[in-house]
Subunit: 336 residues, 4 copies
């Protein structure tokens, strides 16, 4: 059960509402986000909703049968639009495109990539400065200094930044330079990180776990939302299966299923989803047809020289062509 409270509800009224819900046998969690105050009631007993409805200070009451509550479409039918400022949106009825290299490598690379984005009307740049690597001896990214450098150039051209945060202690230093905090596939169930990202007023994009279920992804989003942050995006990036002809198995089924279950925007990552450069473009288009609100893919001036993920990275020419085609595809599916 989700109870939306009036903004200026009196403390006394608030306590009264909580008392009534608890008396019904519900466990109450108080949630305050950028947008609204909520009470989440977890319980199963049937009751007469009018008992609650006439309490002072209540805006609205929603019964939600899903285990996740705040991210469910059952109470919020209208899709969430993420506003990144400067008229850059995700989920507003236009295709959101995010591209850039796997790793931020240096000034030259940043500049060239941003030029490519600007030329093609792309507003959001991806890139890693903290890289999760399975071996401790691999390149782990340029860190905060790389991010600052990147931010400087990006802002000067009106480009927004999406980049991965790996741990709680990185949030604060990254905050001024990040538009979208990306939670990587290995951290989808790093609940402490999710809790802390609930406290910032920046967008958060949660990637599906390496073998995460759709349901777990929604619960991870519920962590962030219930900790106070409604600016959430979910990302399908492929799951781990027995099939080894592709890096991951891009589960595009997840797109229409998520669109039915949640009001949050859905982004597809075909680069990690298939892991083969030649096949990134068709999978990006397939993602759009499946219903994605946005596509995130890897591009680099010279993929064969990229520090990481070169095998699944488009060059700028391929990226430009894909970008054009994606718009046509999005157009086609929007008229449906």
């Amino acid at each position: 059960m989700i109870i939306q409270l009036e903004d200026k509800i009196k403390p006394n009224d608030r306590n009264n509402v909580i008392e009534v819900i608890e008396a019904l046998g519900y466990k109450v969690t108080e949630v305050k986000t950028q947008r609204c105050n909520y009470l989440i009631g977890i319980g199963k007993r049937e009751f007469d909703i009018r008992k609650l409805g006439n309490q002072a200070g209540i805006l609205d009451i929603h019964r939600v049968s899903d285990d996740y509550k705040l991210v469910s479409k059952k109470w919020k039918v209208k899709n969430t639009v993420i506003d990144l400022g400067d008229e850059v949106y995700i989920g507003n009825g236009e295709l959101a495109v995010m591209t850039g290299p796997c790793s931020i490598e240096g000034e030259e690379q940043i500049k060239k990539t941003i030029d490519h984005l600007v030329e093609n009307g792309i507003k959001i740049m991806r890139g890693g400065v903290y890289k999760p690597r399975s071996s401790p001896y691999s390149f782990r990214g340029l860190g905060i200094d790389g991010l600052k450098l990147w931010y400087e150039y990006a802002r000067s051209k009106g480009i927004k930044i999406v980049t991965e945060v790996m741990q709680v202690s990185q949030i604060e230093p990254m905050l001024p330079y990040t538009d979208i905090f990306q939670v990587g596939a290995r951290n989808t169930q790093n609940f402490n990180l999710l809790d802390e990202l609930g406290k910032v007023d920046k967008a958060v994009m949660i990637k599906r776990g390496i073998s995460g279920t759709i349901d777990e992804l929604l619960h991870s989003a519920e962590y962030v939302f219930s900790a106070g942050n409604e600016k959430l995006i979910l990302c399908e990036r492929g799951i781990r299966t027995y099939e080894k002809a592709s890096r991951n198995t891009l589960d595009l089924n997840a797109v229409p299923i998520l669109k039915e279950k949640t009001h949050l925007p859905i982004v597809v990552d075909p680069s990690h989803g298939i892991g083969i450069r030649n096949h990134v473009a068709p999978m990006a288009l397939a993602g759009i047809m499946a219903g994605a609100d946005g596509i995130i893919y890897e591009t680099h001036e010279k993929p064969e020289e990229a520090y990481s993920d070169g095998q699944q990275t488009l060059d700028f020419k391929e990226s430009a062509a894909l970008n054009k085609k994606m718009k046509e595809a999005y157009q086609l599916v929007s008229n449906w």
Copy 2:
């Protein structure tokens, strides 16, 4: 190594060629299909290809590094087109659509479905008369009589038939009434069935195994081809994974990967691939974007009354709308 022989090669020349290849340490399999005679040489020793090239009766020689040979794109760059007669093709640059019910249920249902196909310009009807069922107590299909009835109406309207064959003994009785023999996901590695289907002059569509790899699917096709039948179609229909929010995980990655590896046409089955009626249409469109030559999906006048698979079956109105949209999508991707 694939050696294409001249049609009228003299028996003596043929034996000479075989002798030379075997002398090179290769194991030889003789293949005679509807289209051509081949010798397949399996071995690894390097040799001077001119030793072979000047033998009498040889049309062409191809080295193929893949484990599968005849279905590989490495020797046959031009895509295979399946000609079903009456100007019905698969893989000829137009989208091939196959639709119909899960199970053939009776005359009334056959007629209504065929009317639906004719109205929408669809040329191939799917339907099961032999149903593989995990429980022995479930409905197992109308059998050969159902097929005959279906064939009568289909032919009168110029509609082609794709239907599942479950065992060797069914092939002969089904032969006159079947245009495409479908090998189901549980039979992808029923090698005896594949061997026998290699001996008929009808198209064969092999579905990917329930947890079959892309490589295994190609090897299964190699069975049919090397037994004499080149009229092959491959079908992605979803794989089994840990994710239970959908019936299967439709692995659209398989489409561009298969298109790169083989010259055979690829069909996508979004009905089994996601298993949720509301989401069949977006996944069909996604399949087209991924590069499919055809789409097979389930439709029924009244899905809720279908003998089987009603939960993933479109009604005729949904089917007509999807059919129209699929053509636009195929158009968009063809211009790419």
Copy 3:
């Protein structure tokens, strides 16, 4: 619902019983096995069991809530013992050991293997004469002649034979020379093969599908049982997962779960289950601890020269040592 009928029930009484059950809204399947006559009623309506109980000709009535019926432990609490003749049993409270090569290769190999079995008190020899191979160009086994040769030597030493049957047409020729028909992992859901194996009076061992569920394995057994053959054994041989450090993932969880669900004996195949020679022995012992009634593993005089599966095959010395240790392990778990 399972209704056991009296052996000499009068046709009239039989018809009366069927009529009553059908009147209750149940679909009836008549089953006649080597041991008993049954009626299987599939339906859900609640009814007063006394309505049935006083019908003439009924031995017993069992409600079975599982979807599979005859293989369920819910009606037959006592475990099934397979009697292969000559005092060779499976499931009788002693560990059943089956060993031998992957493929039967010839007289010499047969003799030496049988000598090894005799020396170690092993009564059942495994070996393939029909080999399912993913490539059509691989060795497919010695066929029926190999089986006859093998049978001759085996019988002279009192050894029983377990070997794979791949298709319906092989059953009849194999019948006189086979003690246990093995259904391979690729044929677990070859329902026509299962149906036909229901008609023979020989034991049948069904391997779990390559990615088959425990539930599907039980349903496959139900096919054979309901077609008339109670002499059934189930075999866990590893499933396909993302993990590639082993050939398959031996799912020993399946052993206690199956033992709880069915009265049929359970055999574990550690050779295919892990696919690494050095690790076959510990996994065999683990299988026994998990509750297996028998172990099937591959052995060969010279594993490195075996036609197939050499990488997972024990030599005779390793086999002898394992065999001894397995008996100790079985002893330990039997006293539990």
Copy 4:
């Protein structure tokens, strides 16, 4: 390449060694653990090992072809023994048993569990005070206060504590009260957490990821070791597969494979591995046969009243019986 340095190597000699290695084209990581100083060289160029061998200050040089280095058995053939103090060991040739509840619930429960351990000669108690929960609305554990309470009773009875740490900030407060830090299956690739655990002088037990590979588990251990902590234990706890008859698929194949690849002790968790109370005991025994150095399982005075995981928790009577049987099984396999 691993270079073990002399304890009192002169700074100058150390720099010389590093210079030589880097000159060979190797990237050097300096590692200082509780036990030794190492240099890890990552590179591929072949070189004459004598060029290094005669440098001052070098104890030993090992080439290690695995991607992970310090945890590999290729350089350290003798198995690692974890010494927890008070003569409690893991990996010393006796079975290490860890048991206790899923969640620490309070004083009464702690006392009773410790009594049960003492009575049965079990030295290590498991229990969670920080609980990773997929829903933010679930019970998340008693936290540090629960740990302190637990520690007080445990120490008074000589019992060691293994408990999960979920994030970096918990390490310091937990340190005085924890004998083994457990890294849970959702944190196996939380690289920052692993880095930090490399800095403490307490044992760390890393659970395999929910769908983690064996290789990833070894790399995660390499993180901790290369950050300075050699006191490492690996735990197989089941992986996620398509099979839903059990909570997870306990991959006992991993045990002999890990024992061959690494010198670290291996523990098996049958409670999470199968998730069904009745079947925990056979899977524990199976784990021992597979080669485990220890078993961790859940026990509770009244499993049906446990805050969490009751369905897979043994009561004290079952636990005592299992403990006795495990010793016999370990004995049997040790004599092998």
